[in-house]
């Protein structure tokens, strides 16, 4: 029997997400960092993982028993950096000088040694899931219980290494591994279902032996339900999160120009209004 969904303070999650959306957009404008569409489509997933699910202590970021979270779609690092700062892994002021010469904060996450809270220096697609699988297997081998979570993009599923990992995770019955796929239907230069034959995406993961749930990737309630429903399933888990690229800002939503475009000062103000952020 599925467990009753956990009761979440969804309003507070929404409020955190909107605040971070604004900071991401503002930072993009100030630093010239792209991939806004990708950041905004996965942000709600990041907020859910970091505020509701992942067992981590920002004051003890290398605790061997911590859960591991990997942003496999490393080009959404501008979103991850804001999440980690807000969660207390480092001061928000550390993000001053974002993207400037000598800064740790750019378009992709640095290595774990360079920045607390990072588990994998992603950016080259198709590495996060296989590395996360290694971490999940290490939990079992070392007898240290923890869970591993990774957020992938739909375009990232082009990379064959993910499917190699999917096969091994199923064969090894790696139950402490959960991925969420940010299925915003776009990749850098086209529709992700047209560039390669991605659809039916949920069926593919199901066929690879994973426990698959399809949800609205902007509904915290559906995320919570998906996790609660499958917590005892012995298989690796994939959450296919249907999302909107550029979510939260009307003129960015589902417009793939925002994979690379940098917002103007006026556009930052417009976005802030839409997000309900006081100037």
């Amino acid at each position: 029997m599925p467990e009753a969904p956990i009761q979440h303070d969804l309003a507070s999650l929404n409020s955190i997400a909107q605040t971070l959306r604004h900071r991401i957009i503002k930072t993009s404008h100030e630093s010239g960092t792209p991939h806004l569409g990708s950041c905004l489509s996965c942000l709600d997933l990041l907020v859910f993982f970091y505020w509701q699910l992942v067992n981590i202590d920002p004051k003890n970021p290398t605790d061997p028993a911590r859960d591991r979270f990997i942003l496999s779609k490393g080009h959404a690092a501008p979103a991850l950096f804001q999440v980690l700062a807000e969660r207390g892994f480092f001061e928000r002021s550390a993000l001053d000088g974002y993207g400037e010469n000598g800064s740790l904060f750019g378009e992709h996450p640095p290595t774990p040694n360079a920045l607390p809270g990072i588990e994998a220096a992603t950016g080259s697609l198709g590495h996060g899931l296989p590395m996360g699988l290694g971490m999940a297997l290490a939990s079992r081998i070392s007898g240290t219980p923890y869970s591993v979570y990774a957020v992938l993009s739909d375009g990232e599923c082009n990379e064959g290494s993910n499917w190699e990992a999917a096969l091994l995770a199923a064969a090894q019955k790696v139950s402490n591994l959960t991925i969420a796929i940010d299925y915003n239907k776009w990749q850098a230069t086209g529709r992700s279902n047209e560039v390669l034959g991605l659809a039916p995406l949920a069926d593919k993961w199901r066929a690879f032996g994973w426990c698959v749930t399809e949800i609205d990737g902007h509904s915290f309630q559906e995320m919570a339900d998906a996790v609660a429903k499958n917590s005892d399933d012995p298989r690796p888990k994939a959450i296919i999160a249907n999302t909107v690229k550029g979510r939260g800002v009307s003129f960015m939503e589902d417009d793939n120009n925002w994979h690379y475009r940098i917002p103007t000062a006026e556009e930052v103000d417009l976005a802030a209004k839409e997000l309900g952020i006081e100037p």
Partner: protein, 310 residues
Amino acid sequence: MRNAFAAEVTAMAAEDSKLVLLSGDIGNRLFDKLKGSCPDQFMNCGIAEANMMSVAAGMALSGLHPIVYTITPFTTTRCLEQIRVGVAYHNAPVVIVGTGSGLSYASLGPTHHSLEDFAIFRAIPNIRVLTPYDAPSLRTVLREAVGSGVPTYIRIGKKGEKDLVPQENAVGIGKTAVVRDGSDICILSVGTIGPEAIAAADALREDHGISAEVVLVNTVKPLDHALISSLSERFRALLTVEEHSTNGGFGEYVSAHLAQKDIHVPIVCLGTRDEFMHTVGSQNYAREYFHIDAGSIVTAAKDCLSRAAD
């Protein structure tokens, strides 16, 4: 060497619960003892080397001591990006073992040759390149590498390599073994080509009255700069030989050091030519084909010494 590897890993696994051997669906029966004694410390990752390498990186970042094992091209060039990003960039202490290196699998064709690995790994930060030449040297460097905290690539042979240095005299990472003393020319032999170098030194002495020293090298990177400098002072000429391309090989590494230090000593660098070998044959045949066999070393050593005399 691969039997020595399997036996040593089996013994090490019993002593080190963090050791995990990841295999790319090779070594049929080779690891039966390990699977029997430490079943949780062996994992067949299938014919999926890219994933296997990243899995190993993830394990290393989680405190385990993973060893990745398969045929050399598949544990190097096949998954090079996973090595560069997951292992080297993260400084994740994975031990990568390539079996059947160089021309060991001459009969299988260039898909199974590995003559580019030194060149590639030399340019990747953080990772050591080790070239044991016999079973004792393999046991010694393997024990040193696992648990050392340093990402390490170990290139080993296949089977049947004879011991060149007894186990009690085997030297560790970065140390060289002198197996023939000499005074005219120094032959620096990298990895499993050792027996050819030794045979060449013996022939030079017996047939040509040339005194050749043979130094067995088990570490290509980092290069022992002080050793190269001191050898250049002791000998009239240097010769390097390796089962690897001359392009980006150990010989070029040594030559670059000599040039940058303004050390003028005649040197000849033997390795494979810039071509794929389209014919098959034994490993000995392939060595002759590429002129890195004992007879070719003798000829090259004589030429180099006559240059030194000019």
